[in-house]
Amino acid sequence: MSHDINSEQMSVTRRLLDALRLDPVLLALLFILSAIGVVLLYSAGGSDVDLMIRQAVRLSVAFLLLVVVANIPLRLIKKASFILYLLGVMLLLAVMFFGEVGKGAQRWLDLGFIRFQPSEILKLAVPMVVAAYLSNRLLPAGWKELIVSVVLVMIPVILIARQPDLGTAILVGSAGFFVLFLAGVRWKIMMILGVLLSLMAPLLWKVALRDYQRERILTLLNPESDPLGAGYHIIQSKIAIGSGGVYGKGWLNGTQSQLDFVPERSTDFIFSVFGEEFGFFGSVLLICLYVVIIYRGLYVAASSSDNFGRLLAGALSLTFFVYLFVNTSMVTGMLPVVGVPLPLISYGGTSMVTLMMGFGLIMAIRSSKRFWN
């Protein structure tokens, strides 16, 4: 009897999720991850309940937006891509002229009722517009498609990098190039692109990067050269993670974190807190959770019925991976400190909302496939 009731309840839940066009697997994983994030934030924020509540509220808004986005018909999304992209680029230009300066960078746009970073729009708009464009062309993408796509990607990337916001520029850029990669640009061309980029590197070093960005890269190579200055973040973060050992010091017991040795511990360096308090064991579990989410996204991409959905879901999942990889590499001292948060866990609103909307897109893609089938 009870089994029947259970299965009936299950199916009710199932039907509700279907009606809301949501992926139960992805949704469950995102919930778990967010919950971990909130609990961790309590520790990272120095037992600040307000901070935790603010994050929970933001998460609720983000989940709501996920549901909203998931219910937009895919055709509409595709059609809106270019408009959204144009809007995003225009707002970036607006930031350049009217933006607010915060922490030495001009990223914020104050619209009176809300302050937000237009660069966030482009995290979604860039892969959308490139996917929309390429899905209308024959694949594999040829030279013409390649050039058009590169131009579409580089315009916002350069604008964002000049703000300067290296982290977001990398994320936006890689989202665009992932679409290109998935669209089957030949390996040979990818390689030529790679070589071109590496040839441009010294030029980028001089022109595109600001002093503090250069310093960060140099610091990464030798953090001990300036233990109290630029290298301090990396050193303290490594000490926090390393001193966590196998099982960690326990929730709220990380001395590096609780005593403020880890800088930016509730935002970009929150993984250091996690590593210190939950150790290697916890870190592996957390990363596995991320990987499952990413693989779920790739699975949705692979089983989508049209190219726009395949390219977009794939690119968004890969971008999510870039977040994870860049953030964990950065706090463990493998990559320079660029402002990339730990997705869905770091404190802060805009990137979380964008990420959830990205998952909303993935769910929209998934249900559109079912719809078409």
Partner: protein, 615 residues
């Protein structure tokens, strides 16, 4: 290149994208493995290393300075204690721009160049998270003014600490000495670790001599701090051990009486208990307030003290060396009797001067017309110089020097304080060493009345007088009678130490000198008879007037016309009660003139204060 097919082949296209997706999945796997590998290295392979770093981040060792031992006089009157005082301290680690902060602070309080210099020195030596004093002993206004503005200064603190205080101010300063702020030099002489939290160290006198006893042991506190160095909790603590308390042999009331007796004169009094060597009073005038030195004396005030012609900083009792003059006569007299050079009844004719055989030079008596026929008793009572010139001539310097050394002349007393000088007891050997010259007979003559090269410190003179009172038994004079160990509550009594034990050949010899000395005070013609009025006990004494200024052969010494600085030093030695001495006193009044009129009354007041007080 194959011609472009305009028909969409969805199967081929989706297969292409899927292949790329699979490739991506593999690539992700590889990169994630890389991250996990990195975590493995940090958290498992290098765990011990990072764990240590983490601990050294959060755990800090704080030094807890011990409380300095107290100093009491022999009756338990506090002479040195510790009072809380407010000091301005800076934790340099927490200050972004130290120069700017100092500049801004100077708007609220004054601190001297010296404060600044000491602060800079200490900041180099101490670790950046330790608080370093910038200014000590803030007064109430300064504390109030700073407290209001403290919020704008990160890393600047007002802390209450115990600081040395001398409640009796300048009283007994030359016995006590004082503490001052620790400098780099001081640290080379002590265990630096033990001084990690200490700001003051004994600089002079007892405070310096007994530094090891007074300081105590530093305590250690392990504290957990946050990234800004703020202490969050104490992990473990070894409390500091308070320094040991000192009980002095000094009697602060006697000390006070002695200092008052001096009036405006410069000089020194030392009073010793002859039966054990306890120093009852140790006075050097003028004095100064040691509290000035505790928290760093200002340059102006310091140079005023240092350059003052009256030299208040100079410890005359231990470091001042004076010709003893006629105060040596009882000793030489005893030497003559003991050496069988002279008999007590032998008379010498004094006509006002003495001539060496075959020499022109006149050795003058202080009494121009002479004393006539004098025996030893008269010679001591009236302080006849000619008698002692003659005695010196008969004895010779070797016997004189040897005998005087038995009573402590020319050697340090080994008092438990700093800065003691040995004085000079001239001898042939001394002269050869010091001047590379042979001894002349004339020098023997003037040495015979305590002039010439002979020098004593007031302490030495008092101690020799004490030895005289005890018929040749001489103790090491000492200032600290007992040490109260703060750890064990055990009081260590310092045992008197006999350092000289001259055996009289004949008791009557000493008796004769003793009687002569009593006669100096109580005899009708005694040079110190002026002080005997109302005396309730018997005193044995001897006056002395030491020449500072060489008077030419045909000149008269006229106190009126001689500048103050060149006037004679007035001296007086005594012990009392004569029949069972309990106190021995030596007084030297610089440029005081005559021993009988200036020095003896001071000694009387000191002895009265000790022997004739209502108890």
């Amino acid at each position: 290149m194959s011609p472009r097919v305009h028909l969409r082949d969805d199967y081929l296209e989706s297969r292409l994208i899927r292949r790329r997706l699979v490739f991506s999945a593999v690539f992700i796997f590889v990169l994630i493995t890389l991250v996990l590998g990195r975590l493995y290295v940090l958290q498992i392979v290098d765990y011990a290393h990072f764990s240590t770093l983490s601990d050294s981040n959060r755990v800090r060792i704080k030094a807890l300075p011990p409380t300095r031992g107290l100093i009491f006089d022999r009756n338990g009157v506090v002479m040195a204690n510790n009072l809380p005082s407010y000091r301005l301290e800076i934790v340099s680690e927490q200050v972004d721009d130290i120069d700017l902060t100092l500049q801004q602070l100077s708007r609220y309080i004054d601190f001297s160049e010296q404060d600044l210099k000491r602060f800079k020195e200490a900041s180099h030596r101490r670790r950046p998270f330790e608080s370093i004093p910038l200014k000590l002993n803030l007064d109430d206004t300064e504390v109030a003014r700073l407290a209001v503005n403290l919020h704008q200064f990160k890393g600047v603190e007002i802390n209450a600490r115990l600081t040395r205080n001398y409640p009796l101010d300048e009283l007994g300063v030359h016995a006590l000495g004082y503490v001052g702020r620790v400098d780099t030099d001081d640290l080379t002489k002590v265990d630096e670790a033990n001084y990690a939290g200490t700001s003051h160290i004994g600089k002079l006198g007892l405070e310096k001599f007994y530094e090891d006893e007074l300081h105590g042991r530093v305590g250690i506190q392990q504290v957990e701090v946050n990234a800004r160095g703020r202490t969050l909790r104490v992990l473990s603590e070894i409390p500091p051990v308070q320094g040991n308390n000192l009980y002095l042999t000094i009697d602060s009331k006697l000390q006070k009486a002695a200092e008052l007796a001096f009036g405006d004169n410069a000089g020194s009094v030392v009073a010793i208990d002859p039966n054990n060597g306890e120093i009852l009073a140790l006075v050097s005038m003028p004095t100064f307030d040691p509290n000035l030195f505790v928290n760093g004396i200002g340059v102006d005030l310091y140079s005023e003290l240092r350059d003052s012609l009256r030299r208040p900083l100079f410890n005359r009792a231990l470091s001042g060396q004076y010709p003893p003059g006629s105060t040596t006569k009882p000793f030489y007299g005893l030497a003559g009797l003991e050496n069988n050079t002279i008999s007590k009844n032998k008379k010498v004719f004094c006509r006002g001067y003495y001539l060496l055989p075959n020499e022109e030079r006149r050795y003058r008596d202080w009494k121009k017309e002479g004393h006539g026929l004098v025996d030893m008793k008269t010679a001591i009572t009236q302080s006849c110089d000619v008698y002692f010139y003659d005695l010196a001539y008969s004895q010779g310097i070797d016997k004189m020097s040897a005998f005087m050394s038995e009573f402590g002349f020319g050697v340090k007393t080994s008092i438990d304080s700093t800065g003691e000088k040995p004085g000079i007891m001239p001898s042939r050997e001394w002269k050869r060493k010091a001047q590379g010259m042979i001894w002349f007979p004339g020098e023997t003559i003037i040495t015979g009345i305590g002039q010439g090269a002979m020098l004593v410190t007031p302490l030495q003179l008092a101690n020799s007088t004490a030895a005289m009172a005890l018929k040749g038994k001489r103790y090491r004079p000492y200032l600290v009678g007992a040490i109260d160990s703060s750890q064990t509550d055990l009081v260590r009594e310092i045992q008197p130490e006999v350092v000289g034990n001259y055996q009289l050949k004949r008791e009557q010899n000493w008796q004769h000198i003793h009687k002569s000395m009593v006669n100096v005070v109580h005899g009708l013609r005694g040079t110190a008879r002026g002080i005997n009025r109302g005396l309730k006990y018997k005193v044995a004494g001897k006056t002395g007037t030491a020449q500072v200024y060489g008077v030419a052969q045909d000149e008269e010494y006229d106190a009126e016309t001689v500048a103050d600085k060149l006037r004679d030093h007035a001296l007086f030695i005594s012990y009392a009660p004569a029949e069972a001495p309990r106190i021995a006193v030596a007084v030297i009044v610089e440029n005081g003139g005559s021993g009988s009129s200036v020095a003896a009354p001071i000694a009387r007041k000191v002895m009265d204060a000790y022997l004739d007080r209502p108890s």
